[in-house]
Protein backbone atom coordinates (compact mmCIF):
# COMPACT_ATOMS: atom_id res chain seq x y z
CA UNK A 1 0.00 0.00 0.00
CA UNK A 2 1.13 3.50 -0.90
CA UNK A 3 1.19 5.99 2.02
CA UNK A 4 0.96 9.75 1.59
CA UNK A 5 2.94 10.57 4.71
CA UNK A 6 5.41 8.72 6.85
CA UNK A 7 4.12 9.64 10.25
CA UNK A 8 1.14 11.40 11.85
CA UNK A 9 0.42 12.03 15.49
CA UNK A 10 -3.00 12.25 17.13
CA UNK A 11 -3.42 13.91 20.55
CA UNK A 12 -6.77 13.12 22.14
CA UNK A 13 -7.93 12.00 25.56
CA UNK A 14 -10.72 9.99 23.97
CA UNK A 15 -9.61 6.42 23.21
CA UNK A 16 -12.31 5.87 20.61
CA UNK A 17 -11.37 8.98 18.67
CA UNK A 18 -7.74 7.85 18.68
CA UNK A 19 -8.86 4.49 17.34
CA UNK A 20 -10.98 6.14 14.61
CA UNK A 21 -8.08 8.33 13.49
CA UNK A 22 -5.63 5.46 13.52
CA UNK A 23 -7.91 3.15 11.54
CA UNK A 24 -8.81 5.84 9.01
CA UNK A 25 -5.23 6.83 8.38
CA UNK A 26 -4.21 3.24 7.99
CA UNK A 27 -7.03 2.21 5.65
CA UNK A 28 -6.97 5.33 3.50
CA UNK A 29 -3.19 5.33 3.18
CA UNK A 30 -2.80 8.69 4.81
CA UNK A 31 0.15 7.84 7.01
CA UNK A 32 2.38 4.86 7.35
CA UNK A 33 2.71 5.20 11.09
CA UNK A 34 0.21 6.81 13.45
CA UNK A 35 1.38 7.81 16.91
CA UNK A 36 -1.53 8.03 19.33
CA UNK A 37 -1.07 9.86 22.62
CA UNK A 38 -3.79 10.57 25.15
CA UNK A 39 -2.42 13.78 26.65
CA UNK A 40 -0.70 16.96 25.56
CA UNK A 41 2.09 16.36 28.06
CA UNK A 42 2.86 12.98 26.55
CA UNK A 43 2.91 14.54 23.08
CA UNK A 44 5.40 17.23 24.15
CA UNK A 45 7.67 14.60 25.70
CA UNK A 46 7.51 12.56 22.51
CA UNK A 47 8.35 15.52 20.29
CA UNK A 48 11.25 16.57 22.54
CA UNK A 49 12.65 13.04 22.49
CA UNK A 50 12.98 13.29 18.70
CA UNK A 51 14.95 16.56 18.80
CA UNK A 52 18.07 14.78 17.63
CA UNK A 53 16.25 12.81 15.00
CA UNK A 54 14.03 15.31 13.10
CA UNK A 55 13.33 12.88 10.28
CA UNK A 56 11.30 10.74 12.66
CA UNK A 57 9.06 13.67 13.61
CA UNK A 58 5.39 13.42 12.57
CA UNK A 59 4.51 15.57 9.54
CA UNK A 60 0.97 16.05 10.79
CA UNK A 61 -0.26 16.58 14.35
CA UNK A 62 -4.01 16.30 15.02
CA UNK A 63 -4.76 18.15 18.22
CA UNK A 64 -7.92 18.00 20.35
CA UNK A 65 -8.93 21.10 22.35
CA UNK A 66 -10.93 19.84 25.31
CA UNK A 67 -8.59 17.66 27.30
CA UNK A 68 -8.10 17.37 31.06
CA UNK A 69 -4.97 18.81 32.69
CA UNK A 70 -3.58 20.41 29.53
CA UNK A 71 -5.89 21.64 26.79
CA UNK A 72 -5.01 21.91 23.12
CA UNK A 73 -4.33 25.62 23.57
CA UNK A 74 -2.02 24.89 26.52
CA UNK A 75 -0.17 22.51 24.21
CA UNK A 76 0.25 25.26 21.61
CA UNK A 77 1.68 27.60 24.25
CA UNK A 78 4.30 25.02 25.19
CA UNK A 79 4.86 24.07 21.58
CA UNK A 80 6.16 27.54 20.64
CA UNK A 81 9.04 27.05 23.08
CA UNK A 82 10.20 23.86 21.36
CA UNK A 83 13.35 24.04 19.21
CA UNK A 84 12.80 25.37 15.73
CA UNK A 85 13.89 22.20 13.94
CA UNK A 86 10.94 20.43 15.60
CA UNK A 87 8.45 23.17 14.83
CA UNK A 88 9.28 23.54 11.16
CA UNK A 89 8.74 19.84 10.56
CA UNK A 90 5.20 19.59 11.90
CA UNK A 91 1.85 20.84 10.63
CA UNK A 92 -0.80 21.13 13.33
CA UNK A 93 -4.49 20.56 12.69
CA UNK A 94 -7.10 21.27 15.34
CA UNK A 95 -9.56 18.39 15.58
CA UNK A 96 -12.43 19.03 17.96
CA UNK A 97 -16.18 18.78 18.50
CA UNK A 98 -16.23 22.42 19.58
CA UNK A 99 -18.45 24.72 17.52
CA UNK A 100 -17.51 27.70 19.65
CA UNK A 101 -16.64 30.78 17.57
CA UNK A 102 -13.97 31.81 20.08
CA UNK A 103 -12.27 28.43 19.87
CA UNK A 104 -12.23 28.65 16.09
CA UNK A 105 -10.84 32.19 15.97
CA UNK A 106 -8.26 31.44 18.63
CA UNK A 107 -7.11 28.33 16.77
CA UNK A 108 -7.04 29.95 13.35
CA UNK A 109 -5.08 32.94 14.61
CA UNK A 110 -2.35 30.67 15.98
CA UNK A 111 0.69 30.65 13.71
CA UNK A 112 1.27 26.91 14.07
CA UNK A 113 -2.27 25.82 13.25
CA UNK A 114 -3.00 25.05 9.61
CA UNK A 115 -6.69 24.24 9.91
CA UNK A 116 -9.63 23.87 12.27
CA UNK A 117 -11.47 20.58 11.75
CA UNK A 118 -14.66 19.32 13.36
CA UNK A 119 -14.93 15.75 14.54
CA UNK A 120 -15.45 13.10 13.45
CA UNK A 121 -12.53 12.72 11.15
CA UNK A 122 -13.57 10.96 7.95
CA UNK A 123 -12.26 9.96 4.58
CA UNK A 124 -13.36 13.20 2.89
CA UNK A 125 -11.63 15.42 5.42
CA UNK A 126 -8.39 13.47 5.13
CA UNK A 127 -8.62 13.53 1.35
CA UNK A 128 -8.95 17.34 1.46
CA UNK A 129 -5.75 17.57 3.49
CA UNK A 130 -3.74 15.56 1.03
CA UNK A 131 -5.21 17.54 -1.87
CA UNK A 132 -4.25 20.92 -0.41
Amino acid sequence: MEFKYKKAMVIDDNEIDLYIAEMLMATTGFAEKVVCVSSAREALAYLKSLNADPDSLPQFIFLDINMPEMTGFDFLNEYQHLPENIRKKCIIMMLTTSLDEDDRTQAESNQFVRKFLNKPLDRDKLAQLTAS
Binding site: I16, I20, L24, T27, P120, L121
Partner: protein
Protein backbone atom coordinates in the same frame (compact mmCIF):
# COMPACT_ATOMS: atom_id res chain seq x y z
CA UNK B 1 -36.03 47.96 52.10
CA UNK B 2 -37.59 50.91 53.94
CA UNK B 3 -41.00 51.87 52.71
CA UNK B 4 -41.02 55.33 51.17
CA UNK B 5 -43.91 57.43 52.61
CA UNK B 6 -45.94 59.44 50.13
CA UNK B 7 -45.86 63.22 50.04
CA UNK B 8 -49.46 63.32 51.22
CA UNK B 9 -48.75 61.13 54.25
CA UNK B 10 -45.86 63.35 55.40
CA UNK B 11 -48.01 66.42 54.81
CA UNK B 12 -50.94 65.04 56.80
CA UNK B 13 -48.69 63.94 59.64
CA UNK B 14 -47.22 67.42 59.84
CA UNK B 15 -50.63 69.12 59.87
CA UNK B 16 -51.79 66.79 62.63
CA UNK B 17 -48.74 67.70 64.69
CA UNK B 18 -49.40 71.44 64.23
CA UNK B 19 -53.03 70.93 65.23
CA UNK B 20 -52.21 68.96 68.40
CA UNK B 21 -49.60 71.49 69.51
CA UNK B 22 -51.93 74.44 68.85
CA UNK B 23 -54.90 72.75 70.55
CA UNK B 24 -52.78 72.24 73.66
CA UNK B 25 -51.78 75.92 73.67
CA UNK B 26 -55.42 76.92 73.22
CA UNK B 27 -56.34 75.20 76.51
CA UNK B 28 -53.89 77.43 78.44
CA UNK B 29 -54.91 80.60 76.59
CA UNK B 30 -58.63 80.06 77.13
CA UNK B 31 -58.21 79.34 80.85
CA UNK B 32 -55.98 82.43 81.00
CA UNK B 33 -58.65 84.56 79.30
CA UNK B 34 -61.28 83.25 81.72
CA UNK B 35 -59.13 83.98 84.79
CA UNK B 36 -58.20 87.40 83.40
CA UNK B 37 -61.93 88.17 83.19
CA UNK B 38 -62.32 87.25 86.88
CA UNK B 39 -59.33 89.46 87.72
CA UNK B 40 -60.83 92.40 85.84
CA UNK B 41 -64.11 91.91 87.72
CA UNK B 42 -62.40 93.31 90.80
CA UNK B 43 -62.30 96.85 89.31
CA UNK B 44 -65.98 97.49 88.59
CA UNK B 45 -67.54 94.51 90.35
CA UNK B 46 -68.46 92.72 87.12
CA UNK B 47 -68.37 89.18 88.58
CA UNK B 48 -71.53 88.01 86.94
CA UNK B 49 -70.35 89.11 83.48
CA UNK B 50 -66.90 87.58 83.99
CA UNK B 51 -68.21 84.22 85.17
CA UNK B 52 -71.25 84.12 82.92
CA UNK B 53 -69.88 85.25 79.55
CA UNK B 54 -66.49 83.57 80.16
CA UNK B 55 -67.95 80.18 80.97
CA UNK B 56 -70.46 80.38 78.10
CA UNK B 57 -67.53 81.06 75.74
CA UNK B 58 -65.55 78.12 77.10
CA UNK B 59 -68.64 75.91 76.92
CA UNK B 60 -69.15 76.88 73.26
CA UNK B 61 -65.55 76.03 72.47
CA UNK B 62 -65.26 72.68 74.27
CA UNK B 63 -68.71 71.44 73.27
CA UNK B 64 -67.92 72.09 69.58
CA UNK B 65 -64.63 70.31 70.00
CA UNK B 66 -66.27 67.27 71.60
CA UNK B 67 -69.36 67.19 69.39
CA UNK B 68 -67.51 67.68 66.07
CA UNK B 69 -64.23 65.82 66.63
CA UNK B 70 -63.51 65.32 62.96
CA UNK B 71 -63.85 68.93 61.85
CA UNK B 72 -61.92 72.17 62.35
CA UNK B 73 -65.07 74.10 63.35
CA UNK B 74 -63.85 74.46 66.96
CA UNK B 75 -60.91 76.52 65.62
CA UNK B 76 -63.35 79.01 64.12
CA UNK B 77 -65.24 78.96 67.39
CA UNK B 78 -62.07 79.84 69.32
CA UNK B 79 -61.56 82.75 66.91
CA UNK B 80 -65.07 83.98 67.78
CA UNK B 81 -64.41 83.37 71.49
CA UNK B 82 -61.40 85.70 71.39
CA UNK B 83 -63.65 88.42 69.99
CA UNK B 84 -66.17 87.81 72.75
CA UNK B 85 -63.46 88.05 75.43
CA UNK B 86 -62.38 91.35 73.91
CA UNK B 87 -65.92 92.70 74.09
CA UNK B 88 -66.26 91.34 77.63
CA UNK B 89 -63.04 93.00 78.84
CA UNK B 90 -63.90 96.32 77.20
CA UNK B 91 -67.20 96.27 78.99
CA UNK B 92 -65.65 95.13 82.28
CA UNK B 93 -63.10 97.98 82.20
CA UNK B 94 -65.78 100.50 81.22
CA UNK B 95 -64.37 101.14 77.75
CA UNK B 96 -60.68 101.22 78.62
CA UNK B 97 -59.04 101.68 75.20
CA UNK B 98 -56.24 99.26 75.92
CA UNK B 99 -58.77 96.45 76.18
CA UNK B 100 -59.29 96.77 72.42
CA UNK B 101 -55.79 95.26 72.08
CA UNK B 102 -57.22 91.93 73.22
CA UNK B 103 -58.47 91.47 69.67
CA UNK B 104 -54.87 91.78 68.45
CA UNK B 105 -53.65 89.23 71.00
CA UNK B 106 -56.32 86.81 69.79
CA UNK B 107 -55.37 87.47 66.18
CA UNK B 108 -51.71 86.75 66.95
CA UNK B 109 -52.54 83.54 68.86
CA UNK B 110 -54.53 82.22 65.88
CA UNK B 111 -51.41 82.30 63.68
CA UNK B 112 -50.34 79.04 65.37
CA UNK B 113 -52.92 77.09 63.31
CA UNK B 114 -51.32 78.38 60.10
CA UNK B 115 -54.73 79.07 58.58
CA UNK B 116 -55.42 82.63 57.49
CA UNK B 117 -59.17 82.00 57.33
CA UNK B 118 -59.31 81.74 61.12
CA UNK B 119 -58.89 85.53 61.23
CA UNK B 120 -62.30 86.01 59.61
CA UNK B 121 -64.68 85.18 62.52
CA UNK B 122 -62.64 87.34 64.91
CA UNK B 123 -62.57 90.23 62.43
CA UNK B 124 -66.30 89.90 61.73
CA UNK B 125 -67.13 89.83 65.40
CA UNK B 126 -64.98 92.89 66.05
CA UNK B 127 -66.70 94.76 63.20
CA UNK B 128 -70.19 93.84 64.40
CA UNK B 129 -69.29 94.70 68.01
CA UNK B 130 -67.72 98.02 67.16
CA UNK B 131 -70.44 98.98 64.70
CA UNK B 132 -73.30 98.19 67.05
CA UNK B 133 -71.70 99.54 70.25
CA UNK B 134 -70.35 102.60 68.46
CA UNK B 135 -73.83 103.27 67.09
CA UNK B 136 -75.45 102.73 70.49
CA UNK B 137 -72.99 105.18 72.01
CA UNK B 138 -73.58 107.59 69.15
CA UNK B 139 -77.31 107.67 69.73
CA UNK B 140 -76.59 108.25 73.42
CA UNK B 141 -77.34 104.87 74.93
CA UNK B 142 -76.10 104.76 78.46
CA UNK B 143 -73.84 102.32 80.29
CA UNK B 144 -72.59 100.38 77.30
CA UNK B 145 -68.99 101.30 78.08
CA UNK B 146 -67.65 101.16 74.53
CA UNK B 147 -65.02 103.87 74.96
CA UNK B 148 -64.02 106.16 77.77
CA UNK B 149 -64.84 109.06 75.51
CA UNK B 150 -68.29 110.49 75.56
CA UNK B 151 -68.41 110.41 71.89
CA UNK B 152 -66.14 108.76 69.24
CA UNK B 153 -65.62 110.82 66.10
CA UNK B 154 -65.99 109.13 62.71
CA UNK B 155 -62.35 109.94 61.99
CA UNK B 156 -61.18 108.13 65.13
CA UNK B 157 -63.52 105.25 64.34
CA UNK B 158 -62.14 104.91 60.80
CA UNK B 159 -58.48 105.01 61.94
CA UNK B 160 -59.37 102.43 64.61
CA UNK B 161 -60.93 100.25 61.93
CA UNK B 162 -58.02 100.57 59.49
CA UNK B 163 -55.45 99.65 62.14
CA UNK B 164 -57.48 96.62 63.20
CA UNK B 165 -57.82 95.53 59.56
CA UNK B 166 -54.08 95.81 59.06
CA UNK B 167 -53.38 93.68 62.13
CA UNK B 168 -55.83 90.97 61.04
CA UNK B 169 -54.46 91.09 57.52
CA UNK B 170 -50.83 90.77 58.66
CA UNK B 171 -51.61 87.93 61.08
CA UNK B 172 -53.52 86.17 58.30
CA UNK B 173 -50.57 86.72 55.98
CA UNK B 174 -48.12 85.24 58.49
CA UNK B 175 -50.37 82.23 58.95
CA UNK B 176 -50.50 81.75 55.21
CA UNK B 177 -46.76 82.20 54.72
CA UNK B 178 -45.92 79.88 57.59
CA UNK B 179 -48.08 77.25 55.99
CA UNK B 180 -46.42 77.70 52.58
CA UNK B 181 -42.97 77.58 54.12
CA UNK B 182 -43.76 74.37 55.93
CA UNK B 183 -45.21 72.80 52.82
CA UNK B 184 -42.04 73.59 50.94
CA UNK B 185 -40.00 72.06 53.73
CA UNK B 186 -42.15 68.94 53.66
CA UNK B 187 -41.71 68.75 49.92
CA UNK B 188 -37.93 68.97 50.27
CA UNK B 189 -37.89 66.33 52.98
CA UNK B 190 -40.02 64.14 50.76
CA UNK B 191 -37.82 64.69 47.70
CA UNK B 192 -34.72 63.95 49.72
CA UNK B 193 -36.25 60.74 51.03
CA UNK B 194 -37.25 59.76 47.53
CA UNK B 195 -33.79 60.57 46.21
CA UNK B 196 -32.17 58.38 48.86
CA UNK B 197 -34.65 55.64 48.09
CA UNK B 198 -33.87 55.88 44.37
CA UNK B 199 -30.14 55.76 45.06
CA UNK B 200 -30.66 52.62 47.11
CA UNK B 201 -32.76 51.07 44.36
CA UNK B 202 -30.18 52.01 41.73
CA UNK B 203 -27.47 50.37 43.80
CA UNK B 204 -29.59 47.26 44.25
CA UNK B 205 -30.31 47.18 40.52
CA UNK B 206 -26.61 47.44 39.65
CA UNK B 207 -25.87 44.68 42.12
CA UNK B 208 -28.50 42.38 40.69
CA UNK B 209 -27.33 43.24 37.19
CA UNK B 210 -23.82 42.18 38.14
CA UNK B 211 -25.14 38.97 39.63
CA UNK B 212 -27.13 38.31 36.50
CA UNK B 213 -24.09 38.86 34.30
CA UNK B 214 -22.05 36.53 36.46
CA UNK B 215 -24.68 33.82 36.42
CA UNK B 216 -25.03 34.28 32.65
CA UNK B 217 -21.31 33.76 32.24
CA UNK B 218 -21.42 30.71 34.47
CA UNK B 219 -24.41 29.34 32.60
CA UNK B 220 -22.63 29.92 29.33
CA UNK B 221 -19.56 27.97 30.37
CA UNK B 222 -21.93 25.32 31.70
CA UNK B 223 -23.67 25.13 28.34
CA UNK B 224 -20.26 25.00 26.66
CA UNK B 225 -19.08 22.00 28.62
CA UNK B 226 -22.41 20.22 28.51
CA UNK B 227 -22.58 20.61 24.76
CA UNK B 228 -19.03 19.32 24.45
CA UNK B 229 -19.70 16.38 26.72
CA UNK B 230 -22.90 15.51 24.86
CA UNK B 231 -21.53 16.00 21.38
CA UNK B 232 -18.13 14.32 21.83
CA UNK B 233 -19.58 10.81 22.21
CA UNK B 234 -21.89 11.46 19.25
CA UNK B 235 -18.97 12.36 17.02
CA UNK B 236 -17.13 9.26 18.23
CA UNK B 237 -20.16 7.19 17.29
CA UNK B 238 -20.32 8.83 13.88
CA UNK B 239 -16.61 8.12 13.40
CA UNK B 240 -16.91 4.46 14.30
CA UNK B 241 -20.03 4.09 12.15
CA UNK B 242 -18.01 5.63 9.32
CA UNK B 243 -15.36 2.95 9.81
CA UNK B 244 -18.04 0.25 9.64
CA UNK B 245 -19.36 1.76 6.44
CA UNK B 246 -15.91 1.58 4.90
CA UNK B 247 -15.55 -2.01 5.97
CA UNK B 248 -18.65 -3.45 4.37
CA UNK B 249 -20.11 -3.85 0.92
CA UNK B 250 -23.29 -5.51 2.20
CA UNK B 251 -26.22 -3.32 1.08
CA UNK B 252 -28.30 -4.33 4.12
CA UNK B 253 -25.51 -3.24 6.46
CA UNK B 254 -24.95 -0.06 4.46
CA UNK B 255 -28.64 0.83 4.69
CA UNK B 256 -28.64 0.30 8.47
CA UNK B 257 -25.47 2.29 8.86
CA UNK B 258 -27.03 5.19 6.93
CA UNK B 259 -30.02 5.10 9.30
CA UNK B 260 -27.73 5.21 12.32
CA UNK B 261 -25.84 8.13 10.83
CA UNK B 262 -29.07 10.04 10.15
CA UNK B 263 -30.17 9.54 13.74
CA UNK B 264 -26.86 10.64 15.16
CA UNK B 265 -26.83 13.74 12.96
CA UNK B 266 -30.37 14.56 13.99
CA UNK B 267 -29.50 14.31 17.67
CA UNK B 268 -26.39 16.38 17.14
CA UNK B 269 -28.39 19.00 15.24
CA UNK B 270 -30.83 19.18 18.11
CA UNK B 271 -28.04 19.80 20.62
CA UNK B 272 -26.58 22.51 18.38
CA UNK B 273 -30.00 24.17 18.07
CA UNK B 274 -30.45 24.23 21.84
CA UNK B 275 -26.96 25.61 22.20
CA UNK B 276 -27.68 28.34 19.64
CA UNK B 277 -30.95 29.17 21.35
CA UNK B 278 -29.39 29.54 24.78
CA UNK B 279 -26.48 31.56 23.40
CA UNK B 280 -28.80 33.92 21.57
CA UNK B 281 -31.09 34.50 24.50
CA UNK B 282 -28.35 35.29 26.99
CA UNK B 283 -25.21 36.58 25.37
CA UNK B 284 -24.80 40.30 24.94
CA UNK B 285 -24.76 41.69 21.44
CA UNK B 286 -21.31 41.85 19.93
CA UNK B 287 -20.21 44.72 17.68
CA UNK B 288 -17.71 43.55 15.13
CA UNK B 289 -17.18 44.07 11.45
CA UNK B 290 -18.99 41.47 9.40
CA UNK B 291 -17.48 40.20 6.17
CA UNK B 292 -20.47 38.58 4.56
CA UNK B 293 -18.48 36.86 1.82
CA UNK B 294 -16.25 35.05 4.33
CA UNK B 295 -19.18 34.30 6.58
CA UNK B 296 -21.21 32.80 3.72
CA UNK B 297 -18.24 30.72 2.58
CA UNK B 298 -17.87 29.33 6.10
CA UNK B 299 -21.56 28.57 6.36
CA UNK B 300 -21.80 26.85 2.99
CA UNK B 301 -18.63 24.86 3.70
CA UNK B 302 -20.18 23.61 6.93
CA UNK B 303 -23.30 22.56 5.08
CA UNK B 304 -21.47 20.87 2.23
CA UNK B 305 -22.15 17.37 3.45
CA UNK B 306 -25.72 17.99 4.39
CA UNK B 307 -28.69 16.30 2.77
CA UNK B 308 -29.44 12.64 2.27
CA UNK B 309 -27.88 10.53 -0.42
CA UNK B 310 -31.04 10.45 -2.58
CA UNK B 311 -31.24 14.27 -2.60
CA UNK B 312 -29.73 16.40 -5.30
CA UNK B 313 -26.88 18.77 -4.57
CA UNK B 314 -28.33 22.22 -3.86
CA UNK B 315 -26.57 25.03 -5.65
CA UNK B 316 -25.65 27.77 -3.16
CA UNK B 317 -25.39 31.13 -4.97
CA UNK B 318 -24.20 34.15 -3.09
CA UNK B 319 -24.03 37.81 -4.07
CA UNK B 320 -22.62 40.37 -1.64
CA UNK B 321 -22.65 44.10 -2.30
CA UNK B 322 -20.89 45.95 0.46
CA UNK B 323 -19.63 49.44 -0.17
CA UNK B 324 -19.46 50.34 3.53
CA UNK B 325 -18.34 48.32 6.52
CA UNK B 326 -21.12 46.57 8.41
CA UNK B 327 -21.04 46.03 12.16
CA UNK B 328 -23.16 43.54 14.01
CA UNK B 329 -22.99 40.26 15.89
CA UNK B 330 -21.15 37.63 13.88
CA UNK B 331 -22.32 34.67 15.97
CA UNK B 332 -25.97 35.54 15.61
CA UNK B 333 -25.79 36.34 11.89
CA UNK B 334 -24.07 33.04 11.32
CA UNK B 335 -26.84 31.26 13.26
CA UNK B 336 -29.45 33.01 11.09
CA UNK B 337 -27.77 32.20 7.77
CA UNK B 338 -26.92 28.67 8.82
CA UNK B 339 -30.52 27.87 9.73
CA UNK B 340 -32.04 29.45 6.62
CA UNK B 341 -29.61 27.87 4.17
CA UNK B 342 -29.79 24.45 5.79
CA UNK B 343 -33.59 24.67 5.60
CA UNK B 344 -33.32 25.37 1.87
CA UNK B 345 -31.13 22.30 1.43
CA UNK B 346 -33.27 20.13 3.68
CA UNK B 347 -36.59 21.10 2.11
CA UNK B 348 -35.55 21.11 -1.52
CA UNK B 349 -38.12 20.27 -4.14
CA UNK B 350 -37.45 16.78 -5.58
CA UNK B 351 -39.33 17.84 -8.74
CA UNK B 352 -37.05 20.80 -9.39
CA UNK B 353 -34.30 19.99 -11.91
CA UNK B 354 -31.86 22.52 -10.47
CA UNK B 355 -32.40 23.02 -6.75
CA UNK B 356 -30.76 26.24 -5.61
CA UNK B 357 -30.58 28.66 -2.74
CA UNK B 358 -29.72 32.22 -3.52
CA UNK B 359 -28.32 34.59 -0.91
CA UNK B 360 -28.20 38.29 -1.70
CA UNK B 361 -26.65 40.68 0.76
CA UNK B 362 -26.84 44.41 0.28
CA UNK B 363 -25.01 46.55 2.82
CA UNK B 364 -25.72 50.22 3.33
CA UNK B 365 -24.71 52.68 6.02
CA UNK B 366 -27.92 52.10 7.91
CA UNK B 367 -28.61 48.40 7.40
CA UNK B 368 -27.87 45.12 5.71
CA UNK B 369 -30.62 43.65 3.56
CA UNK B 370 -30.36 39.89 3.36
CA UNK B 371 -32.43 37.84 0.96
CA UNK B 372 -32.43 34.06 1.16
CA UNK B 373 -34.45 32.58 -1.68
CA UNK B 374 -34.87 28.99 -2.81
CA UNK B 375 -36.97 26.90 -5.22
CA UNK B 376 -37.81 24.36 -2.53
CA UNK B 377 -41.10 22.80 -1.52
CA UNK B 378 -42.43 26.04 -0.01
CA UNK B 379 -44.53 26.73 3.03
CA UNK B 380 -48.33 26.90 2.92
CA UNK B 381 -49.95 30.15 3.94
CA UNK B 382 -51.44 28.75 7.13
CA UNK B 383 -48.04 27.50 8.22
CA UNK B 384 -46.18 30.70 7.46
CA UNK B 385 -46.84 32.10 10.93
CA UNK B 386 -46.56 28.80 12.78
CA UNK B 387 -43.11 27.89 11.46
CA UNK B 388 -41.65 30.56 13.74
CA UNK B 389 -43.12 28.90 16.82
CA UNK B 390 -40.91 26.97 19.18
CA UNK B 391 -40.80 23.24 18.37
CA UNK B 392 -43.25 23.64 15.49
CA UNK B 393 -42.66 21.19 12.68
CA UNK B 394 -44.73 21.25 9.51
CA UNK B 395 -45.03 17.47 9.30
CA UNK B 396 -43.76 14.47 11.21
CA UNK B 397 -41.49 13.87 8.21
CA UNK B 398 -39.66 17.08 9.05
CA UNK B 399 -36.14 16.24 10.04
CA UNK B 400 -35.23 19.22 12.18
CA UNK B 401 -35.69 19.99 15.84
CA UNK B 402 -38.47 22.51 15.24
CA UNK B 403 -36.23 25.16 16.71
CA UNK B 404 -34.48 26.51 13.61
CA UNK B 405 -36.82 29.28 12.48
CA UNK B 406 -37.74 30.08 16.05
CA UNK B 407 -34.06 30.76 16.74
CA UNK B 408 -33.80 32.78 13.50
CA UNK B 409 -36.72 34.95 14.61
CA UNK B 410 -35.26 35.39 18.10
CA UNK B 411 -31.81 36.26 16.76
CA UNK B 412 -33.21 38.81 14.29
CA UNK B 413 -35.18 40.40 17.11
CA UNK B 414 -32.07 40.49 19.31
CA UNK B 415 -30.27 42.40 16.56
CA UNK B 416 -33.27 44.77 16.33
CA UNK B 417 -33.90 43.68 12.78
CA UNK B 418 -37.05 42.75 10.87
CA UNK B 419 -37.89 39.55 9.07
CA UNK B 420 -40.37 38.80 6.36
CA UNK B 421 -41.38 35.47 4.86
CA UNK B 422 -42.87 34.97 1.39
CA UNK B 423 -43.54 31.49 0.17
CA UNK B 424 -45.66 29.48 -2.20
CA UNK B 425 -46.15 25.72 -2.13
CA UNK B 426 -44.18 24.06 -4.91
CA UNK B 427 -42.53 27.30 -6.00
CA UNK B 428 -40.13 28.20 -3.22
CA UNK B 429 -39.49 30.28 -0.16
CA UNK B 430 -38.04 33.72 0.34
CA UNK B 431 -36.81 35.26 3.58
CA UNK B 432 -36.15 39.00 3.62
CA UNK B 433 -34.19 40.24 6.58
CA UNK B 434 -33.11 43.75 7.41
CA UNK B 435 -30.49 44.13 10.13
CA UNK B 436 -29.46 47.58 11.36
CA UNK B 437 -25.81 48.57 10.97
CA UNK B 438 -24.51 48.82 14.52
CA UNK B 439 -21.60 51.12 13.69
CA UNK B 440 -20.76 53.71 16.41
Amino acid sequence: MAHQPTYQSIHDAFLLQVKHKSDRLMNYFLVGFFLAGLLLAIFYDTWLIAAGVGSLALLAYYSTKVLLPGSNTYQYVVSTVFGIFMAQYIYQMHGLFEMHFIAFIGSAILVTYQNWKLQIPLALLVIVHHASFGYLQYIGYDKIYFTQLDYMTLQTFIIHGILATIVFFICGLWAFQLKKLNERMIEQTYEMGRFQEEELQKKALLQSNDNLKKSNRELDSFVYSVSHDLRAPLSSMLGVVGLCEMGTLDPFMQKNITLIKTSIRKLDGFIIDILDYSRNSRLEIDHQEIHFSDLLTDVSNNLKFMGTDDQKKVDVRTTVRNGVPFYSDKGRISIILNNLISNSIRYQNPQAPDPFVEINVNVSESAADILVKDNGIGISEENQVKVFNMFYRVSDKSIGSGLGLYIVKEAVEKLKGVLELRSEIGKGTEFVIRLPNLCS
